[in-house]
């Protein structure tokens, strides 16, 4: 029941105004838009009811804190300090005094109201254009109270969409590998958390090595590599039921799994007698199809969003490079030609770019290039980092980074990082433990 929950869109007021505020998303965080997130107003009775159910003193403030944090983390917005707010939340939500908000240089204002109705949480919020003195959007949701953080994420998505003209990515989750223990014998577990690091949960116990989890397009299933019984194989895990199964019956290691965009197939590598090739397996009829047949290492496959093409890395030229081919393995074409080694290609959800890891002169880079290999841009350089995964709107990349140990082999750590496509807003993503192999879900609500 993680993903199927009660969520009713109650009212949708027609939008009467044009977008007057515009966020320049091509420039990253150079000029983040000043925005005031007024705490959502809440009356005493509702407040007490939520306190009883959720043990939260003021749910209105907590939901607006989720929104505020999301906006700040995006790098595109600058949420203003609440200390400067002159208007009370309940009055601001009814009719903002735009002069007051203009005074503190807010260009956009978010207000709202939280009520307890029939054991449910009802949230309404409004987005205001301060300079034009107009309402830009008004929405209301009703859901179960335990979903309150998701309400904050959905509000952020709506605001982000209205102000940038692009889809949001806040009502999403990250699946990753949680790590601990010495570098020579890491204990690894699958873990899942909200995009902002909250609601962290472990999905495996750490009894066997697990690697490279990836979401299905509907976010209900995860495919990953497990060393269960010392047989490295691709597995499927149902997040709701916890059921796990091996994908296919291969007489050797299967690895590097990903779903096809329609969720019907898993594409992966199968290694046998020192050679790794790419295969797909249809999850319905279990038919296995061989996609590449080459004595080199072919791995890290990723479908284009339309499912017509596959990008992968291969060392058929002598070194690890990025290739694309049609979905049946025909028309293989190398696309990376810069200096160094290229790996882990992942097709952008928008279809126009491929993100990758590059190794050159002892440094690791996360970068993007067009699907024909032109326009290579390196976003970040480090001692070790790899495995980018796209946010569902194709704006942000999440990846992992490992530290260099000292001369005694101490000081190892692995952390998740994210960076905007523009190369700005590079930041660490907080996790309870060390973390690697992140994979970003699609939007949970749509």
């Amino acid at each position: 029941m993680l993903f199927r929950y009660l969520f009713i869109l109650l009212t949708l007021f027609p939008l009467k105004t044009f977008a007057l505020i515009e966020v320049d998303i091509t420039r990253g965080n150079l000029n983040p838009l000043p925005v005031a997130v007024s705490p959502l107003s809440i009356e005493e009775e509702s407040k007490n009811n939520f306190k009883k159910i959720l043990d939260i003193d003021n749910l209105g403030s907590e939901i607006s804190a989720v929104v505020e944090n999301n906006l700040r983390q995006s790098g595109l917005f600058n949420p203003l300090s609440k200390n400067a707010f002159l208007q009370k939340p309940d009055i601001a939500n009814l009719k903002p005094r735009f002069e007051d908000w203009n005074l503190i240089k807010a260009q956009a204002l978010i207000t709202g109201k939280v009520t307890f109705v029939d054991e449910k949480l009802r949230v309404e919020f409004r987005l205001w254009d301060v300079l034009a003195g107009k309402e830009m959007m008004a929405l209301a949701f009703t859901t179960v109270p335990s979903n309150w953080r998701r309400v904050g994420h959905i509000i952020t998505d709506k605001v982000y969409e209205r102000l940038t003209g692009e889809n949001g990515y806040f009502d999403t989750r990250i699946i990753y590998v949680s790590e601990k223990g010495p570098k020579t014998n890491r204990i690894k577990k699958l873990a899942i958390m909200d995009q902002d690091g909250f609601n962290n949960k472990y999905l495996t116990l750490g009894n066997e090595l697990v690697l490279t989890p990836r979401f299905s397009p509907t976010n209900q299933m995860v495919t990953y590599l497990s060393y269960f019984r010392n047989l490295p194989r691709v597995y499927l895990l149902d997040i709701e039921t916890g059921l796990q199964e091996v994908v296919g019956d291969f007489p050797g290691m299967t690895f590097a799994p990903r779903f096809s965009p329609d969720g019907k197939k898993i594409i992966m590598s199968f290694a046998k007698d020192g050679n790794s090739d790419i295969y797909t397996m249809d999850l319905e009829n279990r038919i296995v199809e061989r996609i590449t047949n080459h004595p080199s290492i072919d791995t890290s496959p990723s479908f284009s969003p339309d499912g017509k093409y596959i990008t992968f890395n291969s060392d058929r030229s002598g070194y690890q490079q990025i290739y694309i081919m049609s979905k049946n393995g025909k028309d293989v074409k190398r696309i990376s030609f810069g200096n160094g080694l290229y790996g882990t290609p992942v097709w952008s959800p928008r279809g126009d770019l491929i993100a990758f890891t590059k190794l050159h002169k002892g440094k690791f880079y996360i970068g993007v290039m067009r699907t024909d290999g032109t326009g290579e841009r390196l976003l970040t350089e480090n001692f070790y980092q790899e495995a980018p995964s796209w946010s569902p709107n194709g704006r942000v990349l999440i990846f992992y980074r490992e530290t260099k140990t000292n001369s005694k082999g101490e000081g190892f750590s692995a952390k998740l990082w994210s960076i905007d496509l523009t190369g700005y807003n590079e930041k660490m993503v907080e996790t309870e433990t060390d973390a690697s192999d992140p994979s970003w879900s699609s939007l949970l609500s749509n």
């Binding site: 020579t184 490295p232 190794l359």
Partner: protein
């Protein structure tokens, strides 16, 4: 008098061991790598007297060196003599590569060792192969020497 002598001797021994340690350290940083392949014995264990359990590889390589082939011939002779023993060849890579590619590389390294054992008369049903990629380094260092110890195929008794 006696005490002073003992102390003096002790001091000399201490001094000597310091000098020796210094030599040993120097050796690890310079003498244990030959064109990128580890030639030392730090992490090496033995399947039987004189039969080393592992072979090492150059960066991104899966070719067996002369020394590796000699080690594997000894392993093959030992396996032929002990015909009931089965082994797992565990292939590994260093940390300077992407995870998935390194899994494939480890598999290729273990198979290159396996192929050599096969040509020296060990039957294939006694050998299985398991790649750990970069997941199980023996040396947690982030330097060329540590990486060279980690690029390996280890023959492990399975029964």
């Amino acid at each position: 008098m006696n005490l002073r002598k003992t102390l003096k001797n002790g001091f000399l021994v201490l001094l000597a061991s310091l000098v020796l340690t210094a030599c040993a350290t120097q050796k690890t940083t310079t003498g244990q790598l030959q064109s990128d392949v580890y030639t030392g014995s730090d992490s090496v264990e033995y399947l039987a007297s004189g039969v080393a359990d592992r072979v090492f590889f150059a960066t991104n390589e899966t070719v067996l060196t002369t020394a590796s082939r000699e080690t594997l011939r000894k392993q093959a002779a030992w396996l032929r003599k002990n015909s009931k023993i089965t082994v797992v060849l565990e292939g590994h890579a260093d940390e300077r590569g992407t995870r998935e590619y390194n899994l494939a590389l480890g598999e290729r390294r273990a198979n290159s060792a396996k192929d050599y054992l096969l040509t020296y008369g060990v039957s294939s049903d006694r050998i299985s192969v398991l790649s750990y990629g970069k997941e199980r380094p023996v040396d947690s260092g982030s330097n060329p020497l540590a990486w060279s110890k980690n690029r390996r195929s280890v023959t492990v008794k399975a029964n």
